[in-house]
């Protein structure tokens, strides 16, 4: 016969074992859920990195295509237009009857060709900002401001006084320039404004760009921007996401729009 004490000990051991197993299973579930969450986080981070890489590639491809088009425009179309202008000059000289109908038509044609040459140069400049690459952000923005404020009632100001905007990486400078271009173009197309102010500042760890207009403004809540924001606004967000930048919209005073862009840079 079995010793009752041993029997009790065995039963107690069985109960303890059972309890231990139950606690083990509960602990397993908790541990599993935690690992699952950590795994999901890792996958999401990888996905985010991958999306960022894809976006970077897309933007690089876009810039490369712009260069190609600018080069073709300059080398092919630009050259042909210049030759056409030369030919028209020669034709004008050979006609030799100033004031005649033919001379008038010829001068109109030459004027059209000259305008086309200027437009092609402008398009080439917009496609590839050579000034940006050679002289940096501040000079490029100043040149851009000079172009858009020629003639008309529109006043465009650029503030960068007393600030030394050191050269940054090509990606950051190009991103900020393109974002500025897009914001100014949006203001020109949609805001019905008479004044645009561009501010560029460099802080220790970031570059800040502000574009303010006195136009009619727009709904600046996040949901509205996402829902109704056109390709332009989404393009801005995409470009900034590649360089870990951010953009915030606000209404300065009672009307108009201010876009506040921040891009982190390496500590100087």
């Amino acid at each position: 016969m079995l010793d009752p004490a041993k029997l009790q000990w065995a039963i107690a051991l069985a109960m303890s074992g059972m309890l231990l197993m139950a606690l083990f299973v509960i602990g397993f579930v908790i541990f599993y859920q935690r690992r699952q969450l950590a795994q999901e986080k890792r996958v999401n981070e990888l996905d985010r990195q991958h999306q960022k890489k894809l976006l970077e590639t897309a933007l690089s491809t876009e810039e490369a295509e712009r260069r190609r088009i600018a080069k073709d425009l300059h080398d092919d179309i630009g050259t042909m237009l210049s030759l056409t202008k030369l030919s028209l000059n020669q034709l004008e000289q050979s006609l030799g009857n100033p004031g005649s109908q033919s001379q008038q038509t010829l001068q109109n044609a030459r004027s059209l060709v000259e305008d086309t040459i200027l437009n092609v140069r402008r398009i080439t400049r917009d496609l590839v900002p050579i000034t940006l690459e050679k002289f940096g952000l501040a000079v490029a923005i100043e040149a851009f401001v000079g172009q858009i404020s020629q003639g008309g009632d529109l006043r465009v100001y650029f503030n960068c006084e007393g600030e030394e905007i050191t050269r940054q990486s090509r990606q950051i400078e190009l991103t900020l320039f393109r974002v500025m271009q897009e914001l100014v173009n949006n203001a020109l197309k949609h805001a019905e404004c008479t004044e645009i102010e561009i501010d560029l500042h460099k802080l220790n760890d970031r570059l800040e760009l502000q574009v303010t207009d006195n136009g009619r403004g727009f709904d600046i809540t996040g949901a509205a921007i996402l829902a109704k924001g056109g390709l332009g606004l989404r393009s801005i967000e995409s470009r900034l996401s590649v360089v870990n930048g951010s953009i915030k919209y606000e209404t300065p005073g009672t009307k108009g729009t201010r876009a506040h862009v921040r891009i982190p840079i390496e500590l100087s």
Binding site: L2, L13, A14, G17, V29
Partner: protein, 232 residues
């Protein structure tokens, strides 16, 4: 019928345990788990357990020895459980291990039956094995723990609490972990003469069997044949 009713009145929990097997069997059957490569083995195990359970109930009600059926259940049950785990395990090399254990277990159990019953033709005094059931519980617990380790390593499902295999394997682990301690006493408990009457062990064993079957039913409830990705 009268004998069955009287038996049910004397041993209600044991009778409930026999009928409890119907719960996971029917739920799995409704979900058509028998068509699934892994769960068909579990389903057949439950089917065999149900059939043998009912036969043992009828024989026990007529005061006949049912230990030989109990031994048959151990052998057939362990076979199906082994195939079930082989189908669940992800690593190719590890899938063969339960099969090796199965061969060893059959040899050991047949030997254990012969040692516990020197006179095999005496059906009336046929006694429970000494160690085979304990060994079965140890093996199944080991398979279950390995499967849980694989689950933790490969993270096959988003929500473990809705995973059928988790419920089935955990219930097997809980049930057999207690049997490791209680089954050695069965040789002394289930006999006609000089029996060791430890009601607590029978109560514990039967109660946990019912709990194990309820947990398996919960796992069966979550089973979806078309979208199941818990096994290969």
């Amino acid at each position: 019928m009268e004998a069955l009713l009287q038996y049910s009145q004397r041993y209600p929990l044991e009778v409930v345990a026999v009928f409890s097997v119907l719960l996971p069997l029917l739920v799995f059957g409704y979900k058509r788990a028998y068509a699934h490569p892994s769960y068909r083995y579990l389903w057949f195990y439950l089917l065999v357990k149900t059939l043998l359970g009912f036969i043992m109930l009828v024989l026990a009600a007529h005061t006949q020895n049912t230990i030989w059926l109990y031994h048959l259940e151990i052998l057939i049950g362990f076979t199906f459980i082994t195939y079930f785990f082989s189908a669940l395990i992800q690593r190719r090399i590890a899938r063969w291990v339960p099969g090796v254990f199965l061969v060893f277990f059959w040899i050991f159990t047949l030997y254990d039956i012969s040692v516990a019953n020197p006179n095999l033709t005496d059906w009336h005094n046929h006694a429970t094995v000494f160690y085979a059931h304990t060994l079965q519980s140890i093996f199944i617990s080991a398979f279950a723990l390995y499967y849980l380790y694989e689950t933790l390593r490969y993270l096959p499902t988003e929500n473990i609490l809705t995973d059928t295999s988790f419920w089935c394997v955990s219930s097997l682990l809980l049930y057999h972990s207690i049997h490791v301690i209680t089954t050695p006493f069965m040789h002394y408990m289930f006999k006609w003469n000089n029996r060791l009457d430890i009601k607590l062990i029978i109560l514990m064993g039967t109660s946990f069997e019912i709990i194990y079957l309820i947990l398996t039913s919960i796992g069966a409830f979550f089973f979806h044949n078309k979208t199941y990705a818990g096994s290969r």
